[in-house]
Structure formats: structure tokens, C-alpha cells
């Protein structure tokens, strides 16, 4: 399975280029136009709205105007800044914890054979099949009991747990590709297990770690339902604030709404465009988790 993803990204024409006729070229043009027309206009409109001056907001025919960046400045200095910062801190910390726990477990799942391994692996993947609503209630109750409601700690605890199954699954496909002889010869040379893991295995699985980290970060950043029920005022995340704009009394501040939408999307776009190949591979593996 893992080969499919990388293959899909890296391999080029595979001898089909010679057969590209005029018909195919038209197909390519049409397809490209469709893909761009499908994806981009909603983004572009959001960006347009985010810099549109307030008086022109409802003038939908006005597409050319002198842009205003005041609202972006407001995000930094006003109280929108805090939720974005919370999102950033909790998503990053959560993804790092996930990476530590999942990479260690991934090493064992990849390198060691033991009885009950398949069952244990299934147990770890099982939560990925539960829809999020199934754990919403107990988790809110637990956080309340622990006195962690409305804290960043609560978010970090949850984010770490959410992404472990995916991270193990993604990293295992990378670990499985490390030549066993390499590890065995290191062991025969007398390297201890911690040395083997930190000096041989983890460096070789670098792209896998990166993929798992980026995917975990993005999913944490996007998470909405759990931050909504475990945070209130102090530890609101960007997505929760965005929602309160969508549905609350602030609904008419379309400009600020659009700015928040853009800010919430920028990190995702940067990651996707810089690590396309790794993400495509990770997402393909992740979607076929079962």
C-alpha cells in the first residue's frame, strides 16, 4: 500500500508521453480548468472579502478596490490573537507528544514479532473507527473532574491521544521500509537497543516522522468539536472563535470573519505546498487505515 502513494507522486509519464495526441491535450486543458475552477474561487472570494473595505462590503459587483489590511493588523493586536496563539501552541505541543509516543510504539510494531501483535495493533487503530461524538461526553466529564476545563493542558492531552493511531499507522509504513539487515548488523556490532533506535532507525525514518508530525499538527489545528466542549473563555481555539462569528451576534462582521478564515487556512496551505509528496503518501495510507 505504501508503494502506491509514493509511486503516484514520484513516477512520471511511464512511456505514455509518446501517445499524447491532440485529443488528450484538450482533455488536459479541460481537466486543469475544472480542477482550478472547482478549488480556487471559494478561496479567492474569502481573501477578497478579507481585504475589502467596510463600506464596499455588500457591493458584490465591486471586485477591484484599494485593499485594506487593518483587519489583519487587528488580528495580531486585538483579542483574536490569543485564540490563534492557543491553536498554534496546543497543536504543535500535541503533535510533538504524539510523535514521541507513536514513533517509539511504531518501532516496536515494525521490528518485533510477538504473540498478539495483530490484536494489539487493531486495538490501537480501533479508535479511528469511532466517530468523535462517541467520546465527547465522557471526555467533557473527565476534564471537569480533573479541573482542566478551559485550559490549554486539556487540549494538549486530547490532541496527543487523537493523533497517535494515525501517526503509528503512517510511521509504520515508513519503518517497514528500513532494511532489516542494517539494524541486525548494528545489533551484532554490539549497539544497544536505545542506540539502535535513536541512531539508526529514527534518522532513517525521518520523512515518516515529518509526515506524521505535519498530519498531526494539521488535524489538531483543524479540530473543532472537542475544543468547543472543553474550552470556554481562556483556552478558546481559532476554530471555536470562527464558529462563534458564524453563528453568534457578531455575524455581521463579515470582514473579520473572512480574516479569521484566511488565518486559519494559511498554515495548512504552506504545509501542503511545501510537503506535497509526503502528505499525499500519508493521507493515502491514513485514509485506508482499515
Amino acid at each position: 500500500m505504501s508503494e502506491v502513494g509514493s509511486d503516484a507522486v514520484s513516477s512520471g509519464g511511464r512511456g505514455r508521453v509518446a501517445h499524447v495526441g491532440r485529443k488528450t491535450r484538450w482533455g488536459h486543458v479541460l481537466g486543469t480548468v475544472f480542477v482550478l475552477a472547482w478549488t480556487l474561487p471559494p478561496f479567492l472570494y474569502l481573501i477578497l472579502l478579507s481585504v475589502k473595505p467596510e463600506p464596499l462590503m455588500v457591493e458584490r459587483s465591486v471586485l477591484i478596490f484599494w485593499p485594506t489590511f487593518e483587519r489583519y493588523r487587528d488580528v495580531v493586536i486585538s483579542n483574536f490573537g490569543a485564540p490563534i496563539w492557543t491553536s498554534l501552541v496546543t497543536s504543535t505541543t500535541g503533535a510533538l507528544f504524539t510523535l514521541i509516543l507513536a514513533s517509539l510504539a511504531g518501532v516496536t510494531f515494525s521490528f518485533l514479532d510477538f504473540r498478539g501483535k495483530a490484536a494489539l495493533f487493531l486495538l490501537i487503530l480501533l479508535p479511528r473507527m469511532f466517530p468523535p461524538v462517541t467520546t465527547l461526553i465522557p471526555i467533557q466529564l473527565t476534564m471537569k473532574t480533573l479541573g482542566l476545563l478551559d485550559t490549554r493542558t486539556a487540549l494538549i492531552i486530547l490532541f496527543t491521544g487523537f493523533q497517535i493511531p494515525l501517526a503509528i499507522w503512517v510511521m509504520r509504513t515508513f519503518f517497514d521500509e528500513i532494511p532489516r539487515e542494517l539494524v541486525e548488523s548494528a545489533a551484532l556490532d554490539g549497539a544497544s537497543l536505545p542506540t539502535i533506535v535513536t541512531r539508526v532507525v529514527l534518522p532513517l525514518a525521518g520523512p515518516g516522522l515529518l509526515t506524521a508530525f505535519i498530519l498531526s499538527f494539521i488535524f489538531n489545528w483543524n479540530e473543532f468539536l472537542f475544543p468547543l466542549v472543553v474550552t470556554g473563555l481562556n483556552a478558546k481555539t481559532g476554530s471555536v472563535v470562527l464558529m462563534s462569528f458564524d453563528t453568534g451576534y457578531k455575524k455581521l462582521q463579515y470582514g473579520s470573519l473572512a480574516v479569521l478564515g484566511v488565518v486559519m487556512t494559511v498554515p495548512v496551505i504552506l504545509f501542503v505546498l511545501s510537503f506535497r509528496a509526503a502528505l499525499v503518501r500519508g493521507l493515502t495510507a491514513g485514509a485506508l487505515k482499515s
Binding site: A8, F34, T39, L123, L242, T247
Partner: protein, 297 residues
Amino acid sequence: MRWATLGRGRFYFFLLMLPAVLYVVAWRIAPALYTILLSFTQYNIVYDSGPTWNHLQNYGRLLHDSGLLESLRISVMFTGAATAVELLVGLGVGAFFDSDPPARNLLLGIFLLPMIMAPVVVGTIWAILFDPTIGPIPYLIQVLHGPRVEWLGSSVLALGGLVVADAWEWSPLLALLLFSAMQTIPREQYEAARVDGSSGWQLFWRVVLPQVRGMVIVAAGLRFMDALLELDKVIVMTGGGPGASTGFVSYYVYRQAFQAYELGYASTVITGLLVLLAVVYGLYLRNSSRMLRSANV
């Protein structure tokens, strides 16, 4: 792998694995089990000090809950429509990427954006696009002398609007999965078909589609199960309204738990849904492993 040299190393290996396993059990599996336990109790967080056992009363209520049935019906309608659209777009775009267009990887990256960005932002974008005062879609219809419609304000169109937003968000996933399945088809088969004089359309129907059939079923199944419990976009775009026209089943649970504070009964509904999903999932697993093997993925 079995290392002759491992010796005591096996023990360290188990130590490496333990934290992750414990963590997942504590924060993912135990809460799910607790939800099932709560489903047998009366627990309104406002009136009751703690959950009290009420035998199978909740389940009796479940069977006669017409609101739940209605929300299930709406969810299934939404899910069916969304999955169908996504499958269609996914097949077309997947085939397009499979034909090695120029700048394919860049286009693929762009096309995948909606599924990777936050669902809340997707909901926000579409709420803006459909908005009667600032949305371009009602404006375009007005310019073209079409009827004045309140997209998210009328029951049929609100459901349609959610389907459009969902299709925008998730067609990329199906395109990605179908594309990677299509990549495994040996290229010689395409050339043989070309030499035999078949058109591109015939090629798609006779050569490509039969070989990705397994992935079509797997991908549509994945999407179906996820869309059935769609919640984020409902909260952001329609809040279940107008009326109860977009009150999906997850939204029903959400309201029971966090607005009516009926934690016990909400858990019962969740457990019922889990059983329903498990049945679908069992059928799906039975087919998918076979299909995946035949699709070589």
C-alpha cells in the same frame, strides 16, 4: 523479526510501546466504553447528581423516538447525495490525474486543499458564498434574472447547500484514492486498447473502471460512514435549521447532550448509532479486504 541477539532487548521493546498503548486506552477506548455504560443510566447533568441505573428505559425511548428517526432520515438523504456527487467528481478528476497532465503534482496539491483545511473554515466559506447580502452565488442568480432564493434559509436548499459544501470538501479524497488505484493498472493495457482502436471513453468504461471497482466501493464506503455523522459544517452553516430540516443525527446527539444536558439518553443514541455503524462496517470489511486485494492496493 526475531533477533537471536535480542535477548533482554525484547523487554525494552515492550517498554517502548507501552506509553502509546496506555494513552490510547485511557483517552480513546475507555471513554467510548464509558459512553456505552452511561447509555444504561438516567443522567441529566443539571438535575441529577450522578448517573443512576435505569435499566433499559433509555432503549425503550430510543425505539419510539420520532425525532431521532427523522434526523436519521435527513442524515441518510444527505449522505447518499453527497457520496454520489463525490464519487462522480472523484472518478473524473482521478482519471484526469491518471492521464499525466502537465504540472500534475502541483494541481493535485491544490485540489487536495479543501479536505485538509479546517471543516469549520469550509463551513464558513460556504456560509459566506450562499449569504444573501454578501454571497456571490445569490448575486449571480440575481444578475442572471433567476429567482430570489434564501439558500441556507429554506429547508430543501439548506440541505442542498450542505451537500455542495461537503462535495467541495471531500471529492478530493475520493479523487486521491481512485487516482492511486488507477496508477496500479499496467500501462500496457492502455496501449493495447489504443492499438485495438478503442476511444478514451471506451478505455475508461472497459479497462479502467472494472479494475478500480474495488476501490470505488471502499472509498464510497469510507465517505458514507463519515458523512453519516457529519457535524462541524451543520453547526457552522445552518445550526440544524431552518426548522429541523438539517438536523442531522450527530446534531441531534449534540443537542441532547450539550443543550438538553441529557447525557444518559444521548449516550444511548450514540450506542445505537455505533451498533448500526458496526453492522455497516462488518459488511464493508468483508467486501473491502477482498476488493483491496483484487485492486492490488
